[in-house]
């Protein structure tokens, strides 16, 4: 004997309004979920909510590198260096030779302008501060412009936030996703700070 419940159930399902309700609810669910999805895809189009300011980068230093103007102005510098530091004019000096206004003391013989010590021809240096100083060389402007024009998608939001050349050099020289392989080793453990277009040379482990 077929159980009574099954018969009732079947009979109930035959009723048009039951099917209608089921259909209606499903329709609502379907519509709401498609709507939600659509909303998400719209939002995903502008994934990075950074303001797209089409503001050109300032390529020139903001004040002339005369001795007198130094003292009256504040310099930005590469803050975190352990022994060396580079200021926004491109001078690299020892930490103890840093003036109170943040600029390097240009009267000390060890202070150098636009020095590319420790840098390789491929644009990678082993000391961060030299990388920044080298990057600030006027003849590197073309290189940087070319890089900015074809900056990889991953970097778009990073370099979009850059305002002038010094910031660009600071950001470019830092180690980034381009500096590593296998996620936990440097491509080149020595010369890992690069101002150039290309990632460090891949060295075998």
């Amino acid at each position: 004997m077929v159980p009574c419940g099954a018969v009732l159930w079947r009979r109930l399902l035959r009723k048009r309004w039951v099917l209608g309700v089921v259909f209606g609810l499903s329709l609502v669910y379907f519509l709401s979920s498609t709507f939600k999805q659509e909303e998400r895809t719209v939002r995903d189009r502008n994934l990075l909510q950074v303001q797209e300011h089409e503001q050109p980068i300032l390529w020139k230093e903001q004040f002339s590198s005369g001795n007198s103007s130094h003292l009256s102005n504040q310099c930005r510098n590469s803050v975190q260096g352990k022994l060396l530091i580079t200021d926004e004019l491109g001078y690299i000096c020892e930490r103890k030779d840093l003036l109170v206004n943040g600029c390097c003391n240009v009267n000390v013989p060890s202070t150098k302008l636009h020095s590319c010590d420790s840098c390789l021809p491929n644009g990678c240096c082993s000391v961060y501060e030299y990388c920044v100083s080298c990057c600030l060389q006027p003849n590197k402007q073309h290189l940087l412009e070319r890089f900015l024009n074809r900056a990889a998608m991953a970097f778009q939001n990073l370099f979009m936030a850059v305002e002038d050349r010094f910031e660009l050099c600071l950001a470019k020289c830092r180690t980034s996703s381009q500096s590593v392989q296998h996620e936990n080793t440097y491509r080149d453990p020595i010369a890992k700070y690069c101002y150039g277009e290309y990632p460090p040379e891949l060295l075998p482990v």
């Binding site: 009979r11 259909f23 709507f35 352990k82 991953a154 936990n184």
Partner: protein, 996 residues
């Protein structure tokens, strides 16, 4: 008709599936209500802060705990018990009343007292269908505080389970999670009281006092590195930007963790965060599956630097030591942030409440993760994914608590340039409140105290400070393990690592060198002190390692010796006012030690640490292979960590344990009775083998605890690391048995490559042999005690490290030459194996041990031993004796100069505010916060568009059907074809189609 009906059946099935989906979707919407109901759950017993070091427990006679299968009311429970006991004619029993707040609620256990025929009664009780088990009542003693252990309250809080999928979070978090040294023995794991009241952590830490003063985190940029945040979350009003650094194309939080973290820091509604007006920068660096890659971090970090972030919260555990790019990044750019809060590993101190570590230090040297301060890590309330609140516990919870507190603190400071990582850390450390009964490696400087930190930060002047700020080797338990063993002449020097924090600038240096100034009236000249310190203090900090040893003239002296170390730190001038003049700061570090006469040789045990290796950098598998969820040996085998219990036991038996951190050639064997080698992973220098042989001839005893080494098993425990995209193969087994066999070959002993485990009984002690090998060879006149395992059927010499009596017996034998009867007369004693017919393990082909070994170096072909390193040589600092008396209370001395906490008065505020107040059902989550915090504009429409849409759709459909039904009704009714039983039967057994 028939084919049609079966078609409808099919359709009906499909519809049914759809209905189920719909219900699931609906359930999703209703979770919020569910949350509210459990937030109202009260259990006052939980809110007390209690910490303890040790438990002992005894069985209470005649009392039993009856555990049930579920939660029942008191009446039902009593009925079950009486019906169960009726059958065995026990009348003399009663239910022990429990008068606690939980007694109003259903419970899953009952305490009963049976005075007669206990065994039978207990047995009959267990036959009852609703009774799970019956156990004797235990009375638990704590060394600090005794509390009735009855109210085992079960609190329905959401626990943040660490189900990390990826390699990075797992490894980062596991640094001290689960595998922490303090619960290596599982001693504290059984009793766990959970908090019930999800707390408003900001109020608990008295952030509301600062809010009333108008500080709400305004103008501080906070970066949250986590799983993202949805766009219009109702709790946040100042989300500056959201960026995505993962490979998932979304900015939203699909997991809830990022929302929670952001909520604890800056939520302004319902569950208040610390700094509602702070500028939030959301960095999505974890996918919804908790995956993250170093490269994502590097880029996100660069962006954060560019955005001039003040406070950065990174909710992952300690860094992966292997991951140089990541570690460098964190270290190099610590200078760019005001505070980098990298956290956090949770640790359940005796189960009562969680304490979370905030370790900013990158481990190195002694290799211990050291917390600076501890704070709440359990039952913290934060924002839910779509609004509302949730309560979480665990690893990543304490991190946002501190990040939020720091954000709020930064906003209180007028001169923002004063705030830097060092000064913030100094303020947090100096203001922290010490917890009783917890040692400094577990609590750091104590519990976070927001208000005192505020006071300190606002009267702060740039200076250097030390952490710890004093060394009192007699103070227990705070200075454990230093306080557990007095020092004596000839012992290994005691080394204390002190961190120098320099609030004056990113770089600094120590002028001249540290000065050691013993107090002559306090016998300071009886100790000698040597220093090693970082040449440049960068970034913001450096280390100072102090080695303390006893002078020769005090070889038979007993007493307390005191003195202090003075160091002067200088930094380049930072601001214009002090044109070009270096800033300097002088700090004093008091030292107090207890000296005893040198103990006899037989009492001195040397623990070999030099030949132990641990996970970073190589893969050394855990000794216990059963622990699959964390296969790496993080902590190594240290007498103060994994083997803490062994250490405590040996100390209580009167042995003095010293740690050897250098090759065997560097200790004077005539001073020690026994050398203890436990699961050594390292190889041995040929010089060491020769020297050890000579030492043993001259009366040194050797106890070797070995573990497994089996190449096929080692190949089996390899795993694939998503992060490095390579296979990890173990470099040794649980111990390096081939190397040990080389060492022991002189005495004609060897271990085999077997791998065994099991339980056994020896001299009426039950023991567990977790994993290990068997003895292959042993000299003829030796004693071998064999045990046979059911499953393996092989012989081996036993060792389980946690059976102390065995260690005792062995030490008794090695130190005094007395063979305990339990060993000499063991019925399991048998002829030593000769080694024939038994395979000895070979070193695994292609292992990378030489990469991490202190002994081996890579060579063409096989790795060769390096040349023996020179023994460490300490140059003792020249004392500058002072004829003055030491301060009486060391730890109360000023931690920061020019700030006297007692004198800085707090502005008046309402003190009677309840610290923790649970929400009652129906009450809105809004707190009576003074104006200014609650902003005028809420994003209230978020999350409401979809329900509204759904409702409208439903209405349209409903209207359509109403019209339809009306139409049907207006028409003359047609008789529906009735489904009749015969038809149904026919349907079930369709007629066979005739074959052609």
């Amino acid at each position: 008709m028939k084919p049609f009906s079966s078609m409808t059946m099919k359709f009906a099935n499909i519809w049914f599936v759809l209905v189920v989906i719909l219900l699931c979707g609906k359930k999703h919407f209703s979770t919020r209500i569910g949350n509210f109901s459990h937030e109202a759950h009260v259990c006052p017993g939980c809110s007390r802060l209690t910490l303890k070091v040790e438990f002992t427990s005894t069985v209470v006679e005649h009392e039993y705990i009856v555990a049930f299968n579920g939660y029942f009311t008191a009446k039902a429970r009593s009925k079950f018990i009486s019906s169960a006991l009726k059958s065995s004619d026990i009348e003399n029993w009663r239910i022990v009343p429990r008068n606690n707040p939980a007694s109003d609620y259903p419970s899953d256990f009952e305490v009963i007292e049976i005075n007669e025929k206990q065994k039978d009664g207990v047995l009959t009780l267990e036959d009852h269908p609703n009774i799970k088990r019956v156990t004797p009542q235990r009375k638990v003693f704590r060394s600090l505080k005794y509390s009735d252990s009855d109210p085992m309250l079960h609190c329905n809080e959401t626990r943040w389970t660490q189900k990390w999928q990826s390699s990075r979070p797992l490894r980062r978090a596991s640094l001290s999670l689960g595998s922490g040294f303090w619960h290596a023995t599982g001693r504290h794991s059984s009793r766990r009281l959970l908090r019930a009241i999800p707390r408003q952590v900001a109020q608990t830490l008295q952030a509301d006092v600062l809010w009333q003063m108008g500080y709400t985190g305004a103008g501080v940029r906070v970066a949250v590195f986590d799983t993202g945040l949805s766009e219009k979350h109702p709790h946040f009003k100042n989300v500056k930007e959201r960026t995505n650094w993962t490979n998932e194309r979304t900015l939203d939080d699909g997991l809830g963790h990022g929302t929670f973290v952001a909520g604890v820091i800056a939520s302004m509604r319902e569950c208040q965060g610390f700094a509602p007006n702070a500028e939030l920068h959301i960095f999505r660096v974890f996918t919804n599956n908790q995956v993250s890659y170093t490269s994502w971090f590097l880029d996100a970090f660069n962006y954060a630097i560019l955005k001039k972030i003040d406070v950065l919260n990174l909710s992952i555990g300690g860094p992966d030591f292997m991951d140089h790019p990541f570690v460098d990044k964190v270290e190099y750019h610590a200078a760019d942030f005001k505070y980098l809060n990298e956290t956090a590993s949770v640790h359940y101190v005796s189960g009562h409440r969680s304490i979370c570590f905030l370790s900013q230090e990158l481990p190195g040297g002694y290799g211990r993760v050291k917390p600076d301060i501890v704070t709440y890590g359990s039952g913290v309330r934060g924002s839910g994914m779509k609004g509302g609140c949730r309560s979480l516990s665990g690893t990543s919870v304490a991190s946002p608590v501190v990040a939020g507190a720091v954000t709020l603190l930064v906003s209180t400071v007028q001169k923002r340039e004063m705030v830097n990582p060092a000064s913030m850390k100094q303020a947090l450390i100096a203001s922290a409140r010490r917890l009783p009964g917890v040692n400094m490696f577990e609590q750091g400087h104590g519990k976070l105290d927001l208000l005192r930190a505020y006071q300190i930060l606002n009267s702060y002047k740039p200076q250097a400070s030390l952490s710890p700020s004093y060394i009192d080797l007699t103070e227990c338990p705070y200075m454990w393990p230093y306080c557990s063993q007095p020092i004596y002449y000839g012992g290994m020097p005691t080394i204390v690592n002190v961190t120098i924090l320099n609030g004056m600038g990113v770089t600094g240096r120590i002028i001249d060198k540290p000065d050691w100034q013993p107090y002559l009236p306090q016998n300071g000249d009886n100790i000698e002190v040597a220093f090693s310190y970082s040449p440049v203090l960068w970034p913001w900090s450096g280390y100072l390692a102090i080695s303390i040893s006893v002078a020769k003239k005090a070889a038979s002296w007993e007493g307390i010796a005191q003195g202090h170390v003075m160091i002067t730190v200088s930094s380049p001038a930072e601001n214009k006012s002090k044109n070009g003049v270096e800033q300097t700061s002088t700090v004093k570090l008091p030292i107090k030690v207890k000296i005893i006469p040198t103990p006899p040789r037989s009492k001195r045990v040397l623990w070999d640490q030099y030949h132990n290796l641990r996970y970073p950098p190589g893969y050394f598998p855990r000794d216990n292979l059963r622990m699959k969820n964390d296969p790496l040996d993080w902590n190594g085998d240290h007498i103060h960590t994994n083997f803490r219990d062994v250490y405590q036991h040996l100390r209580s038996m009167g042995y003095f344990v010293e740690v050897l951190g250098s090759p065997f050639t560097c200790f004077d064997a005539s001073q020690y009775g026994t050398l203890l080698m436990v699961d050594s992973e390292e190889e041995y220098f040929p010089e060491e083998i020769t020297k050890l042989r000579r030492d043993v001839d001259n009366g040194l005893s050797l106890i070797v605890f070995s573990d497994w080494y089996n190449t096929s098993v080692m190949r089996k425990v390899k795993f694939y690391d998503e992060n490095t995209r390579q296979w990890w193969m173990p470099d040794t087994g649980g111990a390096n048995i081939p190397a040990l066999n080389d060492l022991l070959s002189v005495w004609n002993m060897a271990f085999s490559d077997g791998l065994y485990e099991g339980d056994f009984t020896m001299a009426s002690h039950e023991m567990n042999y977790a994993s290990g090998c068997s003895i292959a060879k042993f000299p003829e006149d030796g004693i071998v005690i064999a045990q046979t395992f059911k499953d393996q059927g092989m012989h081996f010499l036993l060792f389980s490290l946690y059976c102390f009596w065995l260690l005792d017996s062995l030490l008794q034998y090695t130190s005094y030459g007395v063979m305990p009867p339990s060993l000499s007369h063991s019925e399991n004693r048998q002829r030593p194996p000769s080694g024939e017919g038994c395979s000895l393990p070979e070193r695994m082909e292609g292992n990378h041990l030489h990469r991490y070994s202190k002994v081996l170096e890579a060579h063409l072909g096989d790795p060769k031993p390096r040349s023996l390193p020179a023994c460490p040589h300490l140059s003792w600092a020249k004392p500058q004796p002072l004829n003055e008396t030491a301060p009486s209370n060391l730890w109360k001395h000023q931690k920061l100069l020019s700030i006297d906490l007692d004198k800085v008065a707090l502005p008046s505020f309402r003190k009677n505010r309840p610290q923790v107040r649970p929400l009652s059902p129906g009450e809105s989550g809004a707190w009576d916060i003074p104006g200014g915090i609650m902003p005028g504009r809420y994003n209230q429409d978020v999350g409401q568009t979809i329900p509204v849409f759904a409702f409208l759709g439903a209405m349209v459909v409903l209207a359509f059907f109403v019209v339809q039904i009306n139409k049907v009704k207006s028409r003359p009714k047609r008789r529906k074809p009735r489904v009749k039983r015969p038809q149904l039967v026919q349907q079930v057994h369709p007629p066979k189609t005739p074959s052609v």
